[in-house]
């Protein structure tokens, strides 16, 4: 009888203890870093510089698309679990715009590695610079985009994970916090997916379309001005960096592989010409 009672109370105690643990975990906040890059706007006409080594920089810029989804995901995780969202970019003065927009959407603070020298780094050096800038901080999660629209290395995130000694998963389409860490959904090729369980802290590279982006509100834009922004100079992080291991020798317009026929004229005429082709050459009408 006695033993049964104590056994029962033991169960109750364990349950209570679990409950406390659960509530503790449930409210355990997350500190998330989001790496965001500024890239030329999608529709911006790009021109080569005179040396043919890079584009002319007098174009309009925007945030790298998957990075916007990464920020949105971080804000959603914070809203669910509470915590802090920090955004970081490495780029010239103009890149501040990306951080401003992120703060307006709800990020808590920002870090700007500000120097023209942050343009044209290989992914290893960008990751080393970012790692050096956050060396005194501890994040539960780090998000990057899965790749940049300008360089398209598809590497900076995974390299950063390796430098920081974190586990990583790439091309992520869903994130859930669990007791033991996180449960994420990886996109694979040709419509396949895979769930992966992993411990925290971790780094994830985020795929576009993981969520629906929010807009900044007027209040958000106002508040952004008072939020903390830390500037980091190139000199501060340079000791952690090295020479670029890949060098762009030449940038140029790709050669056409096909003999494309351009149909010209006013719309009605073009429509006629195209239907002629579809009828007589493509033979689908």
């Amino acid at each position: 009888m006695v033993t049964a009672l104590s056994a029962a109370s033991a169960v109750v105690y364990t349950r209570l203890f679990r409950l406390c643990q659960l509530t503790l975990y449930g409210s355990q906040s997350v500190k998330i870093l989001v790496c965001m890059k500024q890239v030329p706007q999608k529709d911006a006409p790009l021109k080569l510089n005179d040396a043919g080594t890079w584009i002319r920089e007098d174009v309009s810029y925007e945030v790298n698309e998957p990075d916007a989804f990464a920020l949105e995901e971080a804000l959603r995780q914070k809203e669910k679990h509470s915590g802090e969202v920090v955004v970081i970019t490495a780029g010239p003065a103009r890149a501040l715009q990306v951080l401003r927009e992120a703060l307006a959407k709800g990020a808590d603070r920002a870090i700007h590695l500000e120097d023209d020298g942050f343009v044209g780094l290989d992914a290893y050096n960008t990751a080393r610079a970012i790692a050096a800038a956050i060396k005194d901080e501890k994040f539960d999660l780090i998000f990057t985009g899965l790749q940049s629209d300008d360089y398209g290395y598809a590497q900076t995130g995974v390299i950063l994970a390796q430098i920081l000694g974190l586990p990583h998963a790439t091309i992520i389409m869903q994130i859930e916090k669990t007791d033991a860490g996180i449960h994420v959904k990886r996109e694979l090729e040709a419509g396949f997916f895979q769930f992966v369980d992993m411990p925290l802290p971790a780094l994830l590279t985020i795929q576009s379309g993981i969520n629906k982006l929010r807009y900044a509100t007027l209040i958000g834009i106002k508040q952004a001005k008072t939020k903390p922004l830390r500037k980091v100079t190139l000199a501060e992080v340079q000791p952690a960096m090295g020479g670029n291991l890949q060098k762009i020798e030449k940038l140029y317009v790709p050669q056409k592989s096909k003999n494309t026929e351009f149909l010209e004229g006013p719309p009605a005429e073009v429509a006629k010409k195209l239907v002629e082709k579809l009828k007589n050459e493509v033979r689908v009408i």
Binding site: K42, P45, L46, D122, Y124, A127, D149, D150, G152, Y153, A154, Q155, V158, I159, Q162, I163, P167, H168, A169, T170, E187, L188, G191, F192, F193, Q194, F195, V196, D197, P199, S208, G209, L245, Q246, K247, I248, E249, K250, Y252, V253, P254, S257, K258, N259, T260, E261, F262, L263, E264, P267, A268, V270, A271, L274, K277, L278, V282, R283, V284, I285
Partner: protein
């Protein structure tokens, strides 16, 4: 001294990923230009049969990098296994296909060896004793020739379709196969992957469609999709889309064309307001005839189009629908 080029072929669940043949073709081309030795490796558990298949090609040697902990794939185990292998069998160049799996572990592996990976390469030149790797930049609007400035090894990943699998040369006799067991310590692997699955049931089979009208972000708003639908109907074809359109939920996922969607090869692929990012092109460039309508004359989609119309799709599509209807009587 002859340097070594190592091709790492990709296998998943014991099956060779066909794109690996393209990487071997790339390796053979570089070996022919440089005179370097070409070897291959297959990484996994119980994958000797694949090594046998690969050994029939013109290669100096094929390695099986083996450990039970390499199945299922994890970046921790793969990066560790290859780091250990390359420590014993150094290579100057390590070539792989630019698959999702490779993207997942190569940056980690290269970083652990304090070197770099030149990613998503579409061509190789050997000029003045120097290797130049061509890769796309700015979503295909430009390409760059990139050189390696480190001491090695240099990892290179090749975009799908940059080399032709049917150009792989067979070897005289089968290349020798050697198994190298790697030691992956307890606790090294941190991720626990679950089985791969396909999400939605396929409601349409676009691979069977002869005519496809495909819409991209140039369509601007969901309500405009109807315009494309009218064109598809007039032509008797199916409607498809680029990824952002499906991400927005304007069309269902099973109508997405590209690397993460469907691969199609219809008689006619008509692209409306699609820029032509490589992840889209890989899903449709095998089409017999490609028509592109785009307001940007520099859009990369025009590089693979047979017929191109530079202009506003909202001006061109309505008269086009009328003309198609007229022609069909």
């Amino acid at each position: 001294m002859a340097e070594t080029i190592l091709v790492i072929v990709e296998q998943r669940e014991g099956k060779l990923n066909r794109v690996s043949w393209e990487t071997i073709a790339a390796g053979q081309a570089i070996a022919a230009q440089t005179g370097w030795t070409l070897e291959a490796a297959v990484v996994g558990s119980g994958v000797t049969a694949i090594a046998g298949e690969v050994a029939a090609k013109k290669l100096a040697k094929v390695y099986v990098v083996e450990s039970a902990r390499l199945e299922p794939y994890t970046p921790d185990a793969f990066a560790h296994a290859l780091e250990e292998f390359l420590g014993k069998h150094p290579a100057k160049l390590v070539l792989m296909p630019h698959t999702y799996q490779v993207r997942d572990f190569v940056p980690k592996l290269a970083t652990s060896l304090e070197t770099t990976a030149i990613s998503d390469v579409i061509g190789v030149k050997h000029e003045g004793g120097k290797l130049l790797f061509t890769r796309q930049m700015f979503q295909g609007k430009f390409v760059a020739d990139v050189s390696f400035a480190g001491s090695g090894p240099c990892f290179v990943t090749f975009q799908n379709g940059s080399f032709r699998a049917d150009k792989v040369e067979a070897g005289g006799a089968a290349a020798p196969v050697e198994t190298v067991n790697v030691d992956i310590p307890d606790g090294l692997v941190r991720n626990q992957p679950q089985p791969v699955f396909k999400e939605a049931k396929q409601a349409v089979d676009l691979t069977q469609a002869e005519i496809i009208v495909s819409v991209g972000r140039g369509i601007k708003e969901q309500k405009n999709i109807d315009l494309a639908k009218q064109l598809a109907d007039a032509l008797g074809g199916e409607l498809a889309a680029s990824r952002p359109i499906c991400d927005n939920g304007w069309l269902p996922m099973d109508r997405q064309i590209g690397s993460s969607g469907q691969t199609v090869a219809p008689k006619l692929y008509l692209a409306l307001g699609i820029s032509g990012a490589i992840q889209h092109l890989v899903g449709m460039k095998g089409s017999r005839s490609i028509v592109a309508i785009n307001k940007d004359s520099e859009a990369p989609i025009f590089e693979i189009a047979d017929y191109a119309v530079v202009g506003n799709l909202f001006d061109i599509v309505p008269p086009l629908i009328e003309e198609v209807k007229k022609a069909k009587g």
